[in-house]
Every structure is written in C-alpha cells, then in structure tokens.
C-alpha cells in the first residue's frame, strides 16, 4: 500500500484538486440558475393547471426524476449538438463539455425543484390570494409581494438539500471530461499512478464542502423560520 498512498502525497494533492473548486461551483451555479427558472415555470404550469403544458410538465418531471443523472448527462452531451445542428445548422460539437453538463444538470435540477416549488406554492393558503385581490393588487403583484415570499420559506429546507445533492452530483461531469474537482482527481491519479491518494484527497474536500453547505443552509433556515 505504501507505493499507492503516502500521507505527504495526499496533503500535496489537496490544494491541486481544491484549485478546481471554482469550476465545480460554476457548474452548480449555472445548473441552479437553469433549474430554478425552469422549475418555477413547471411549478406554475402545474399549480395553475394550464392545459397541455401541465401534462407535458408532468411527463417531463417524471422522466427527469425516474432516469439516472449520468444517462441524462450523456443524452445532452451527445444529443444536444445533433439537435441544435438539425434545427439551426450550427455545429456546437466543439463547445466545451462544461456547457452541456450545466444544461444537463440544470434540466435535472428543474425536475426536482419543480416538485419542491409546487409543494411550496400549494402550501400558501388560498386566503392570501383573495386578500391580495381584495386589496386591489394585480396578479403579478400578489405573486411578487405575498405568495413567493411565503412559498420561499416553505421551499428553503428542500432547496438546501437539493443544492447539496447537486454539488455532489456534479462529480459525474468528470465522465464527459470536465476538469472539475473529480476530473482533476482522476487526472492527477492517472498521471502519477496514485489514484488512491487523489481520490482520498477529493473525498476529504467533498466532505468538508458538503458539511459547510449543509451547515450554511441549516443556519439560513433557522433565520428564515424564526418565530414560526
């Protein structure tokens, strides 16, 4: 085991892998942005029972939640360039795998957040909508000022869980060659012949960051639900 793992080498690998944290956070941030927007849209469509769109949203959410993330990443990575080329004629095959990974995880996150947001929107009592209408507010103003602030409080705990899960899921981006923390660990390990060391270093980093993220969301949740 001495040839495959040394404590010196393990400590030496940690900053090299940690240097790719911005790339991992970029994937998380980009995927969250797409996921929140698309998830909100899907949630609204289901809560307000918009015909046809509601059925599409139900099927989409079921597909995304019922299929493995790695399969979704590969479908987007190999399929999106073909789809874009057939529609626009533009060849995006040479684009960095990072963009495809962000789209894939964005779509995946949207499926989970759609259910979370739908539950949160349905938790806001009907009386709040009626009170807003009685006060003369427009529908948009009711959502912006009354419904969404209350729904956000219900959604926050589940949102935190989804963010931590997304952070860990982005390690799959290494499967398509993205040089995030996991990709760097695999690369370092293969180049030096010390896979055990590099994976152990990556594991330590993921554990620390996951615990920090969970702790941050627990604190945020306590502040937001204070007095409830």
């Amino acid at each position: 085991m001495g040839d495959y793992f040394t404590w010196n080498g393990f400590i030496h690998f940690i900053p090299k892998i940690a240097a790719q944290l911005p790339m991992t956070l970029l994937i998380v941030g980009g995927s969250l942005a797409i996921g929140v927007l698309l998830g909100l849209l899907l949630a609204f469509v289901r809560v307000f029972s918009i015909p046809v769109a509601k059925q599409i949203a139900i099927v989409f959410t079921s597909f995304v939640r019922g299929t493995p993330e790695i399969v979704q990443v590969f479908i987007v990575y190999y399929g999106l360039p073909l789809l874009v080329q057939s529609i626009t004629g533009v060849d995006i095959d040479a684009l960095s795998a990072l963009y495809f990974v962000i789209v894939a995880f964005g779509i995946n996150t949207a499926g989970y957040l759609a259910e979370l947001f739908r539950g949160a929107l349905e938790s806001v009592p009907r009386g709040q909508y009626e009170a807003g209408e009685a006060a003369g507010l427009t529908r948009g103003a009711i959502f912006r000022r009354i419904v969404i602030p209350q729904a956000a409080k219900f959604a926050l705990p589940g949102f935190g869980v989804n963010v931590v899960y997304l952070f860990q899921s982005t390690s799959m981006a290494a499967a398509v060659g993205v040089m995030d923390m996991m990709g760097k660990a695999a690369n370092l390990g293969s180049a030096t012949g010390r896979l055990l060391q590099s994976y152990a270093a990556a594991a330590v980093l993921f554990i620390i960051i996951s615990i920090v993220l969970q702790w941050a969301f627990t604190l945020l949740d306590k502040r937001v639900t204070f007095g409830r």
Binding site: G66, A175, L196, A203
Partner: protein
Amino acid sequence: MEFHWDSFLSALIAGLHAIPQSLIMVIGPFFLCTVIGLAIVALRLFQVPVLPQIIQIVLTVQKGIPLYLFIVFGHVLYMLCFNPVASALHLSVRVGDVNIMYFAVFILSWAFIPMFTEMYWGAVLSVPKGQYEAGYAAGLTRWQVIHRLVLPQMVPAVIPNLTNMLIGLLKASALTYLVGVMDVMNSALQPVMQSYNLVEAYVASALIYWGIALIIEWCMAGCLHVLGRYRA
C-alpha cells in the same frame, strides 16, 4: 437530426436483457441496507452507549462523499487490497476470479446505508411511545413489542420514502458502468459501438430506467394501499 430507429431498437433489446442485472443491484442493496439500517436503529432505540454516536459520525462523514467518487474510490481500494487480504487469509481466490457484481452490490449497499438508517429511524419515531408502554403493560417482552407492534406500524410509514430509495438505487446502479458491470446502460451501448449512434442507445436505456421506476412507484403505491389499510 436523424434518429436511427434500428440502432434504438437493438439498444432497447440489449438493455431489456440486462434488466435482471440492474434489479440485482436494487434488491441486493435493499436487503443489505435494511438489515444493517435496522441494526443501527436498534442500537439507537435501545440507547446503547457510545456506539450509535460513533456510527452517526461515520455516516455523516460518508454522506459527504459523492456516489461517483465513492464507487471509483471503493473500486481502487478493492483492486489493491483484495489479493493481499486473500493471501493473508490463506485463500486461493484472487480478485479476477470474483464476479464484479458482488462488488457493485456491496459498494451500493455501503453508499446507501446512511439514507436507509435515517429512513428507518424516522419510521421508528413515527410509532408513538404509548405503543411501547401498552405492549409492556400487556406483558409482552421487548422483542414481542418490536415485532408485533412497532414493525407492523413502521411499514406503512416507511413505504413512501422506500419508493424514493429504491428509485435512487436504480439510478445509482447506472454508475456501476465505471467498474465494468453490464447493467442496462452499458448493455444498451454494446450494439451501437460500431455505428456510434450513442444518443439512440442512451435514450433507449433512459426509457427502460423510466419504465422500471414507474413500475416501482406503482407497486409501492399498491403496497401502501394494502398495508396501510388499518392506519388510524
């Protein structure tokens, strides 16, 4: 974009043939995690000193490791340590003699133990304390209270979360392609390796996984309907 239906169909058929392998990687870990998870819950329930706290710390740390990393790290450890350990125990078996499915089931079980433990602990907490007291007052032993009162009431409480766990295991089984397991996704890719119609293969495997997930949801909903009939 031309969708090659012939590649899609050959990938679909190859993927369908691999369903038993994927189901083994769902059912195997389910049984292992249930046994180990319930054992850990029992340690917490009967307030065994020190050990539950140590286990809780280990499981919390383990939950921070992504499944992808857990599988590849575990595989590297397995490949490096199996032969030396087998030699030390004077066993003639070597790592190449062992079917990789055993490793896949083992590593998925280990990865899902924290979630199963939390699920079963939540189900145990859902059984009111009064049930235990009523059992003891009626003269039942601790084991009789557990298996006649607590476990039957736990089952309908656990089924919704168990549905999510089983679907989670199904999705996690797709990652075992990293260690060479011929699951649904890996098998669906084989017929299209020469033509490189990879999108068709991945879509076919996605549809198979989706179908199995829907069947799991439907079966578990049926179980909940039958087993939850006498809930208050």
